[in-house]
Symmetry: C2
Subunit: 345 residues, 2 copies
């Protein structure tokens, strides 16, 4: 097998953008999608890096995402801003609305961004991290596909429903977490299935609702939420706030719409942004300095802050480049040369 190669972040960015343009995506959207994919690869989040390109191309080939959708902003001047992704990728829609969201949040103290009808494939940390870097606290959530049973139930209904939070820090990368409200990712169960190894207890139930460590039975049954009934409650909240409340698909309807689980889901997303300076103003305290006290105490007792591994990988990637396997480089070549036609080879 050919050796791995090192590629700079900028070069990878240009290549991924060309792949999406070749696949028919309008340039601004291709740039936005490439940005989050390369950011994932750069941060060594392999499951949200260039691995995602093929999945995105498959939805394009299936005609289930609009390649030339232009995000449309709807702003009534209130604390809720909306952007219609028009069936396109979520990322161009978020970037189209971000500056307005930041400005509105600084003006009103808090504001929400509703993203409507978007194809969603990226981690949520992109959005909350971008807002935290602009000095705002941010929450983000969206439904996914019905793979997860509610606590006490036995049938898939909830999505793996990610929940992300960002908090600005002075002089440091933001405090950022982003996790699925299921115990594990579906992909992890799939990996166990391929390897023929059992999954840990507590990840899933079989189709009769019994606990199982058989990945096959788990995929045929239902995944479980993290943290028992508390995690199930949070996952339900995600369905309500980023599905029902927006009048967008919840996880069940998203799956019904797409009709198959191997295509990325289309639904809405909710981002809440808060300006700590507004909230703290009357206290006379600096909210960012207060937050640092907590982080110092967490790190001081040997606990880790979330996202630190990601930030370390980023620093390495930015200085030394990203190492890709020969197979990965090969795939990039193929996608860049053939566009959607590469999917059939």
């Amino acid at each position: 097998m050919a050796p791995s190669q090192t590629i700079s972040v900028d070069t990878l960015m240009a290549r991924v953008q060309r792949i999406f343009e070749k696949a028919g995506v309008r340039p601004q959207s291709a740039a936005a999608v490439a940005h989050v994919i390369v950011a994932g690869e750069r941060d060594n989040c392999k499951s949200h890096g260039i691995y995602r390109i093929e999945g995105c191309l498959r939805v394009l080939a299936a005609g289930k995402v609009e390649p030339d959708a232009v995000p449309e902003l709807h702003d009534t001047g209130k604390a809720v801003i909306e952007v219609d992704a028009g069936g396109g990728f979520s990322n161009p829609a978020f970037y189209a609305a971000m500056d307005l969201l930041v400005a509105r949040t600084r003006e009103t103290g808090l504001a929400a961004l509703v993203i409507r009808d978007c194809l969603h494939f990226s981690a949520l940390w992109h959005d909350v991290e971008a807002l935290a870097e602009r000095g705002l606290a941010a929450l983000s959530m969206c439904p996914s596909y019905s793979f997860v049973a509610p606590a006490g139930g036995k049938t898939p209904l909830l999505g793996t429903n990610p929940f992300a939070f960002g908090w600005p820090r002075s002089g440091d990368k933001p405090y950022v977490f982003d996790f699925a409200t299921s115990v594990a990712a579906r992909g992890e169960i799939e990996l166990h299935r391929r390897a023929g190894t059992p999954i840990p207890e507590g990840w899933a139930i079989d189709r009769d609702g019994n606990p199982t460590t058989d990945p096959e039975a788990a995929l045929d049954g239902a995944m479980l939420t993290f943290g028992g009934h508390k995690g199930s409650a949070i996952s339900t909240m995600v369905e309500l706030l980023s599905g029902a409340m927006l009048g967008e698909y919840m996880s069940k309807e998203a799956l019904d719409f797409m009709g198959r689980t191997d295509l990325l889901p289309r639904h809405g997303a909710l981002v809440l942004a808060m300006d700590p300076q507004t909230f703290a103003a009357r206290s006379g305290r600096d909210p960012i300095a207060e937050g640092e006290k907590l982080f110092t105490a967490i790190v001081g007792q040997g606990a880790r802050l979330p996202s630190q591994r990601r930030f370390a990988a980023r620093a390495t990637a930015l200085s030394d480049g990203i190492v890709l396997s020969a197979a990965e480089m090969d795939q990039l070549d193929r996608f860049e040369a053939l566009g959607l036609a590469a999917l059939d080879t």
Copy 2:
């Protein structure tokens, strides 16, 4: 022992209010505090029912809560409303601000309520349920005392940091959850200590950071968050959003201020309210009807919605009254006759 007695919700309300007035609390505040205590007892949440009266009186006797504090509203017309509890109980402050919060939320789509410097003893479901009954989705959170270690740590730092959510339903009680972000309540560990029984694994670590099932070692060590690092992340978020962001105490400073763990904590609280009708408007869908689809599917597979036991207990209490033990009635008599002096008997 004397038999138990049945008392109507209204009678209990009048009695508890008189107890707080006798203890020097201004009438409007006594009514607000009595309201949430009786609501807890009515819903058979014994840990937040009349059991709380003694704890409240102890903080009054210790001079650590202001009995005659008048909540002060601060409104700049933006999406963030503030109310200074002035060192008084949180409940009068919330009720003083609620109508404005509801009106502002309907106007702007979402709004936040900051409660400053309040003595906090009640469950958060009161606030989110009241808002959900007015048609709003609501989130509420606050710090508490540093009893909980962050994931990967071994020293108490985070509070048991409750997190509550409410969602309006048509024709039914709201969807409401309210839980501590610690695995268990501190009181549960205390009960095991008194009973001489071990606590379940995963609840706590000893002072050296090792897992323990010894309640004594647990109380001397640190409690753990629910859901491992994910619950720890949510608890950290609660410290940041309802402590640092408001310029109010986080759990560590709240404990330092009070100086002892047997007094209820004083800190701030954050409530976020969203108007689903605003968020859904452009979708053409009814967000409340969408939510019902999810609830129907949850209940349809035999899973329970949170708070249902509470609502059932409420219905019984409202029709048949509340059953109190002779010891409980006795305590009410004593508190009503003697006020704070009853604490020494």
